[in-house]
Symmetry: D2
Subunit: 293 residues, 4 copies
């Protein structure tokens, strides 16, 4: 298992792949935009075709933008489902829908292969430092097998049982919580500002005391400073997650008004041309605009 | 200044007063329900009349439930405004409206006295451990004078300038953030539960990783376990704060939909007989009820 | 064209079919629950198989509960797409998604057949009295051809152009407006009641004056009296429409917070076991419950 | 009783006063901006001082912008409470808070005078045509006495009992319903527009069919055309009513999320400099802005 195919060299995938190379793995890599692989160093080989990159492999890791891209990589023309070895493992680390994981789990199983859900929490810098939090769900035996691989990329692994979709539920739930926290901070700091206070001072106070968690410190600083550049995570991707979380809520018959609020906040951002802006701007910028500042 | 009158021996006031006694201060204490003072030990004297408790004093600390109670203590029949020494300092630590602080600051000033705003963050256990975070605003000279007193009760003092109302704005903004975080967690954990996951496991994961702040750990556990007893902070008091925050938002022309959401959540709790339930139940119980679990 | 197949004899379909029979048409009828056809009188024939009911027909009218049922009738095993005559017309009167109409229009066209979108506004009594408002969109020539048929069922036909999905957009938009009006009245009458007024008197006042439209008179009376029996339109069907409207809003990048509000209101009703209750109860009952009355 | 003092010659008050003059009453009139009285014709006298305009009168009608202005006219320096005859009647037709009516009722009573609550529904053109709907509450005997006066100004009088505040509750509830209807139409027409339909055609359809009430026809046309000039009713006045309705909801422990939605919508309009824009623009313009059109 020292040979791995890694598909998806975006802001997150690139440093994750690099850590695997650094740990002694040989990687076949594929990215839609091949030039992204120029950021890698060490023992790897770049492919321009997914099937070729995966042929005869035992492990493939996917870190892609959404369900559609993952389906295309797995099941499309030149997809990897048909060319992996029997018994091969697909480690699916993208933020995708629970439905997609259930479906792909079954499709791999039908081929005598395995699918492990393993989405991550953390930003690109955390990925570079191998400080990601990794959530897993799926077959116990497979989790044991790939544990050494996951440990290279993350600081801790949290397991959520056998249901392939469970870790996706956790990931989407977490992204909802992050968006809700951004709305919370944006309303709070804007209210303080409009009451005559210094919003950075207020943000610092909360980030140092009762809300001293990474989410509140990091996003809190960006929101307080209204600093929306550089773009860390696009509003369009944030909205995708709000949409997937809403679909989960629909399937579970779960009314979630705060989820609806951030969903509409980001949808408004998209409708106003902000798809490529940072999701912090999508949410906090909307609060500012409503408040006239 | 080793003599202080302390008014309000509730869940918070009692341990705060005890810490002052332990530090060598002599306290005159008053509480509407006199029996509360039985919880104190050491050098103090109980009064059944505010004016008598404050006559000729240089420092009075108030820790009361709301604007109305504070106004009554300060300006009512037997109120302390008329009996304090010239130059005396009123340290106002209750969670009250910015309007009240502006007004009382002026009224004390007209008497040659001083008013310092100093609300706190922290629960009763934090008060007992002298681990409160204290926010101040008002006259610089007065802050210097009372610093030794405040340091006995808190782990850190954060100052927000000269405007008497500023620290109240921070306190109410913070309580809004706490309520919004409860709504966030309640929706998140309920969504996870309805998707088949264990809500406690999900809460623990977030409390240990990206949301590892006291608010998320402490309230997160209560919300995950649906544990609403014993009552730590009443829904009626939580709603009071949502109402004061809404008034601030109105005055500042600040549309705040998430604030409106938690305001309505708690108002619904009150309308359904939950005024004396814990505010966690007011919010998280409402999310559960809407979700049919 | 005096032979028509009518599929779907529910609360709406039955009186619509009866009006066609009364006007001299011979009907082949199909309903999943065959017993429903016992309500019909005159010249018609009951089938237990859709394909047989449609074989060699030139006109088929569908009045079904949702996309899935319509797809099954049209494209499923024993579906009618394969058995209609070339040049045949499918008049699609159900409340379905714009996507479904676009898709079925194309599928009929590929078979040399025609698809006309023609959803209706009105309750079962309006259907019985041939007082429905019918919205159409699709091919001009086909509209002209079926005009005599539609005029038998409705008091007026409103056309929305050539795009097959347009009339569905109008229908779903209208059902959103009805749900929003129910929320409006429920909040208004409950507020008046909690302020000590007679909610029926208040409802009558508005229904006779500034809000003297059928929606406000009819639903207003039900909401004022909290009269939720008999069930006229199920909450599960109302939610289906809220869901389809939300999908339209998503596709159009349209943030719609009031739509989200009624969507969550009905979803909460479903989550609490109210799928088969009237949608008026789903919305107005939720307002009452939140208000503790 | 052929002598009446009329205070407040705004868009509504002016035509109402004219109708009284036309019916043979002699009017003493007062308006803060005296020039407004130039619009009147016939038997009236203009005063620049309220007390002089009311001295020795038996009937005074007030039609003012808000609680504050009414209080000033009634109780301020040169206010009329002190100068009216014993037994005089104050017909209070402004849109004010229930609290204000309860308070003024008591203050007049203490002077041996009477206070009748009589707010109106209708726009300036309806006032000119004497087509207002007038809601009353208060003392039965007084209602009988002033009936001839009210009938000159309105097409119908609806009575809501003895409680002085009841008619205010109805008026504010109605204004909430109008604002909610504007939000409903704005979201509906914008959704239809973004789905490719003609929003005017959609508005016309609903205004002619299921929503054929004045509110939907009149405001519907403005919203469909995005026609916000001339200003008929200022957003600042609309927000005042949303604020008063929210205060009623607070007092009655009534969670009203749709009221919160339109409240925030108008507050955002004010925060963005739109206080003097029409309330239709305040609401519908906000929906458009969020939708990026």
């Amino acid at each position: 298992m020292k040979n791995i195919t890694f598909i998806g060299l975006g802001n997150m995938g690139l440093p994750m792949a690099q850590n695997l190379i650094n740990a002694g793995y040989h990687l076949n890599v594929y990215n839609r935009t091949t030039a992204k692989s120029e950021g890698l160093k060490g023992d790897f080989k770049v492919y321009e075709n997914i099937a070729e990159a995966c042929k005869g492999q035992d492990v493939v890791i996917t870190m892609l933008a959404n369900d559609e891209t993952l389906y295309d990589a797995c099941l499309g023309k030149n997809g990897f489902l048909e060319v992996l070895n029997e018994g091969a493992i697909h480690i699916s680390m993208s933020t995708i829908s629970p439905d997609a994981s259930r479906d792909l789990f079954a499709k791999h199983k039908a081929k005598g292969q395995h699918y492990l859900t393993a989405p991550v929490f953390g930003r690109p810098t955390a990925a570079a430092d191998a400080k990601l939090f990794i959530c897993t769900s799926g077959e116990e035996e497979i989790k044991e097998k790939v544990k050494p691989i996951l440990e290279i990329m993350g600081q801790a692994i949290y397991d959520f049982g056998n249901e392939p979709s469970a870790a996706n539920v956790v990931k989407l739930t977490g992204n909802f919580m992050i968006m809700a926290s951004m709305e919370t901070m944006a309303e709070a700091f804007t209210l303080a500002e409009k009451q005559g206070l210094d919003r950075e001072q207020v943000a610092n106070f909360f980030g140092e005391t009762v809300f001293n968690a990474p989410i509140y410190k990091n996003y809190g600083t960006l929101i307080a400073k209204k600093q929306y550049q550089p773009v860390g995570f696009k509003a369009s991707l944030g909205f995708k997650d709000a949409r997937l979380a809403s679909k989960m809520a629909l399937d579970a018959e779960m009314p979630a008004p705060l989820l609806s609020l951030v969903y509409n906040r980001l949808l408004s951002s998209l409708a106003n041309g902000g798809a490529n802006a940072d999701w912090v701007e999508g949410i906090a910028g909307g609060v500012s605009k409503d408040a006239g500042i």
